[in-house]
């Protein structure tokens, strides 16, 4: 049929529905769009130079990525020493020229060192006969967290509330103790260390800073000037000083202001400092979410007679917190890694414990530090990566407006 666009025209039959061109889908399509299209444009001198540079750059990046990955695998797995059956300690991880048993030029991880120090890295100097208390606390924590990750878990709500209310009390009793009479002798927090301290500081900070942050963010937006100025002042104060300063102040300066005889546990001081510090950041993240809420949502809630607290709890905060999940988790991850700073006030968190293990002359070798740092880095990476992935899942789950 001849089509004349200059006059009235009526379509007689539908144009066919066709699949997309082959070279735009699948792996080939991806390669064409993302790689080939950048390096095969030779339509002019400028385009040709760009294409060549792009090709060279791509190859260079591929080469160095593979190189680094290989070096890591080589060090951590292939060349690594895995066992030390004869208890040779440093000898098993040093080269012949330095008095060891490895061939000269050897460079690999010394995993027997990590095994030997594992208990210290996890518990610090926690008394050996009381370690079961830490293990049970950790087990309850892991079971609770795993339960919360499944949406269809029965009594999920109850588990969640228990984890936020009963578990902290339980953990306190288990870790600190009640006294000999009940079989839970006190363990001084100066003996705590390693992963135990890292998790105690990080989880306390994470759990306490979120509600505190919500309160501060709402306070900063309050109509009441006194509340607003107080919250703004609090937030700006804690954001304005470095965490190291906070920790030093808590550890060194605070006792000077307390009456003689009154002492506050060093770990507790660090916990309070970290929590207040993190809550100021949290407040600003949440305030960002509050500002993203359309004014109409506040008005609709008001018009239905919900009142301030109900409209915040039921309408505004659920939406605001969903908007800023990436920011909240970002703050959590930052907080988790910042816990390493407590090492400078004499608490042996994971990094602090690793530092101590590195200084053990019995294991002295050139790979001693690298091995332990690699281990510590892996631990932090796994924890942070899990948080990051979980936040992405949560975002997808809660993103109902775009479904």
């Amino acid at each position: 049929m001849k089509t004349d666009h200059s006059t009235a025209y009526v379509r007689q039959e539908d144009a066919p529905l066709l699949p997309p061109p082959r070279n735009e889908t699948g792996i080939i399509g991806w390669f064409n769009q993302n790689i080939l299209s950048l390096i095969n444009d030779f339509s002019g001198i400028g385009a040709a130079i760009r294409s060549v540079l792009m090709a060279v750059g791509t190859l260079a990046i591929l080469y160095y990525s593979a190189h680094i990955l290989w070096a890591l695998i080589d060090f951590a797995i292939i060349e690594a020493v895995w066992s030390d059956p004869d208890e040779l300690k440093r000898v098993v991880c040093t080269t012949e020229i330095a008095g060891g048993i490895q061939h000269n030029g050897w460079h690999g991880a010394c995993w027997p060192l990590a095994t030997a120090k594992m208990k210290f890295l996890i518990y610090g100097a926690y008394p050996a006969e009381e370690l079961w208390r830490v293990n049970i606390t950790g087990l309850v924590l892991i079971i609770g967290l795993v339960c919360l990750m499944f949406d269809r878990m029965p009594y999920r709500m109850h588990i969640g509330i228990s984890m936020l209310t009963i578990f902290p009390v339980f953990a306190y009793i288990m870790l600190v103790g009640l006294g000999d009479w009940i079989g839970l002798p006190y363990v001084d927090t100066r003996d705590w260390g390693g992963v135990l301290v890292t998790l105690v500081v990080a989880l306390t900070g994470i759990i306490a800073s979120l509600p505190l942050g919500v309160v501060l963010a709402l306070g900063r937006q309050s109509n009441m000037p006194a509340v607003r100025y107080l919250c703004t002042g609090f937030i700006e104060f804690w954001r304005g000083i470095p965490l190291i300063t906070v920790l030093f102040m808590a550890s060194v300066a605070l006792p000077l202001f307390l009456p003689t005889g009154v002492t506050i546990d060093n770990l507790l001081r660090a916990l309070i400092g970290v929590t207040l510090f993190a809550s100021a950041y949290m407040a600003e993240v949440i305030r960002g979410g509050l500002q993203a809420i359309d004014k109409g949502q506040y008005e609709a809630a008001d018009a239905l007679g919900l009142g301030y607290w109900k409209s915040m709890r039921l309408i505004i905060l659920p939406q605001a917190l969903t908007y800023v999940i990436p920011g909240i988790v970002n703050t959590f991850i930052g907080l988790f890694k910042d816990t390493t700073l407590v090492a400078i006030i004499g608490l042996f968190d994971l990094l602090g414990a690793a530092q101590a293990a590195i200084n053990d002359a019995g294991w002295s070798s050139p790979v001693q530090a690298i091995t332990l740092y690699l281990l510590v880095a892996t631990f932090y990476f796994i924890c942070c990566f899990v948080m990051s992935r979980y936040s992405m899942r949560l975002e997808r789950k809660l993103d109902r407006s775009n479904r």
């Binding site: 018009a303 239905l304 919900l306 775009n402």
Partner: protein, 257 residues
Amino acid sequence: MANNAKLKKQGSEEIVISMNGVNKWFGSFHVLRDINLNVHKGERIIICGPSGSGKSTVIRCLNALEHHQGGDINILGVTLDNNVHNVETVRRDVGMVFQQFNLFPHLSILENCILAPTWVKKMPRAEAVDLAMSLLERVKIPEQAHKYPGQLSGGQQQRVAIARALCMQPEIMLFDEPTSALDPEMIKEVLDVMVGLAETGMTMICVTHEMGFARKVADRVIFMDEGQIIEQNEPEAFFSKPKSDRTKLFLSQVLSH
């Protein structure tokens, strides 16, 4: 005009809304100037006027979304003042529908509807669900109850917004340009719901540019300009024999197309 089936004139003697000498300023801008208005129970009032004339502000003062700075507003015997309790009492009995729907996007349609009855009126959940479903039926979208607002068209969302307001079983309904944000083909479905509501004898105050709707349901049409009530009359007289020049100019502009 003749083939528009006109609703029976409604409105008893009982006054449910009275505004006496109400004044309001946005900064130094005098947005409402000496507004005097009495609304009887069951009366249907349409407020029209050019943009910026203060018509939205008037109805937003009626449920204290805006606070007036002079004069008195009395709703169902409660004086609107700085007393939070009074404001909440009034808001329970005054429903509002917004131009932008303002549904809660994180809640399903049904949850949107039962939220206020269960939390504000402490209605048992089962009862609230029954009420919500019957009202969703009335606005003709019961099958959408478990979807989320983002999955609905504008017209459907606005009908849900009407049902949500009705779930509080209000005495008075306020409509702030309910069809202005809708695509033309969706305006009718919303207006049909509003006509149905008018037939039930609900006291309604509606800011709108839909003059056909005004003719059909209004007991009284109010024309506002520059923060003042310029003219008010029964729709027949208002549209056929406007008295003020400003009304004539406005009507010539909105009725010409």
